[in-house]
Amino acid sequence: MILAPFTLHRPESLAEALSLAAKLPDGGYDWIGGGTDLLQNYKNRLNAKDHVIALDRVPEMRGISAERIGAGERLAVISESAVVRERWPGLAEAITHVASPLIRNSGTLGGNLLVETRCYYFNQTPFWRGTKGSCMKAESDECLVVPQKEICYAAYSGDLAPILGVLSATLELASPAGTREVRIDEFYAGDGIRKNVKRADEIIVGVKVPAEASTLRAGYRKLRHRDALDYPEMGCAAALRLDPSGRIELLRAATTAVDVVPHFLDFSELMRGQEPDTAFAEVAAAMEERAQPKKNTSMPVGYRKKMVRVYLGRLLDDLRAGRTEGRIPAA
């Protein structure tokens, strides 16, 4: 399919990228990292803009260290890097759940965090939308999932927000006004159209991971039809630390693809000192309770909601036993 036409800009630095964007009309441009999400939508004529600003040559968005991952780094490079595999094996393994190896060779971390929310009525060709009638996230003003005109119910379907959330990562957002930091668990807000607190002229430059993260056992589990390519029908992540007597010291959980935003909850205060078995059951039930999937992906809503408890329970048992899925890429 032919891409919607646009003018491409390729700045060589963060300052150049920001000043370039400031000269373009508001809402008249998109940032592009790997392009594996954006270009699919452009091919489907979904909210294509007249200008696209490529961030692949911005040096400030590169680099992988023990404190920070550049948002422009390719997913495959991140999951293969020695630092990430050693310090945050749960993140390295979660990345192997994203799309396919070919897409991970192009796709970037920032792009994954900002992946377009997905809906059965939105991710379709112009022809399909022309027959069915378009939704409020595309050309019309009405939602086709839950008929009303206020809230877009497209599901947030990123794989990496949950795992980075339970690791307490922070996003560096750069704009002409300066740089600010936002915790990932406070970043996503709104609905399927508003999505997050990032303003259009802001760029995610990097993701900071606190030192504490490397002391946690963390992982991500994903429900989907095939073991590759598919977006999550439900995804969940957890981070765990037990005290020397085997009781809960720290416990955080997150889910994705079961609402318009990912859910993050820190159970550490509530569960500190408890027996893992009872705590795990309560955490899994609480996250299931919170999940609000809508009928806009291919699996049944009730099933996706129930699987939160099942997958999260299994994940927490695996974390306690120190089991992984065996997907961490070799060096």
């Binding site: 399919m1 032919i2 891409l3 919607a4 036409p5 646009f6 003018t7 491409l8 390729r10 592009i32 790997g34 392009g35 594996t36 270009l39 699919q40 452009y42 091919k43 004529r45 294509a48 696209v52 490529a54 692949d56 495959a76 192997t96 799309a99 396919s100 190896p101 070919l102 897409i103 060779n105 192009s106 112009p126 022809f127 939308r129 022309g130 027959t131 009638g133 378009s134 050309e139 019309s140 073991d227 590759a228 390519l229 997907r327 070799a330």
Partner: protein, 214 residues
């Protein structure tokens, strides 16, 4: 004939007038510097097939799902249907045509696909070969599990994948210099002369079996 109904909805249909002009870009394709005029919205797949005539790279879904259009950019297999040509400037691009340039023997991976049934209709084969070649360059002795993971972004509707995994395993052994038992190729069978002109498997594995250009 009935008049064609326009699509409902305010869809933006690109006209030649509102498309940004072409610009000249220098690409490094298969070791050669090529200059080509492209639009900013051209993807590498368009440029390779339509402007450079390298039709071995096939257009499957054109949406990043099937993996047919896989090429190497700086040594990594990527989807050329989702790579903007202008962003591939300065990178080393390698297509199926360079795996075994005309006049040379097939690459061991191609030979294994041809001999072990890794290629049937042949449409997806260039993508699988590019993915497999990149895998074996990084990892000379992959497990079956690793092979399956690595080719999980390529789709094949003929083989059921077992033959492809077997082909990659055989190619890996050959590339490591191990003795590989030869399998009868279609060319060795007792078929009347003229029944077919080209050894089909080899032909397809070399990236010349794809469909017509768009």
């Amino acid at each position: 004939m009935a008049e064609t109904q326009p699509l409902r909805g305010p869809f933006r249909v690109p006209s030649a007038a509102d498309r940004p002009p072409k610009q000249v870009v220098r690409l490094n394709v298969n070791g050669h510097a090529r200059e080509v005029a492209v639009r900013p919205s051209d993807v590498l797949l368009d440029t390779l097939r339509d402007d450079l005539g390298l039709t071995g790279t096939t257009r499957g879904c054109d949406m990043g799902t099937c993996g047919c259009c896989t090429v190497h950019v700086d040594g990594r297999p990527v989807l050329s249907c989702l790579t903007l040509t202008l962003l591939a400037e300065g990178a080393e691009i390698r297509t199926i045509e360079d795996v075994a340039p005309a006049g040379t023997d097939l690459h061991p991976v191609q030979r294994a696909f041809a001999q072990h049934g890794g290629s049937q209709c042949g449409f997806c084969t260039p993508g699988f070969i590019m993915t497999s070649v990149a895998l074996l360059a990084r990892r000379p002795d992959p497990s079956d599990e690793e092979i399956r993971r690595e080719i999980s972004g390529n789709m094949c509707r003929c083989t059921g994948y077992n033959k492809i995994v077997e082909s990659v395993r055989v190619a890996a052994a050959e590339l490591r210099g191990e003795e590989v038992a030869s399998v009868a190729s279609p060319g060795d069978l007792d078929v009347p002369r003229g029944a077919y002109d080209k050894p089909a498997g080899a032909y397809r594995s070399n990236g010349h079996g794809g469909g017509k250009s768009r």
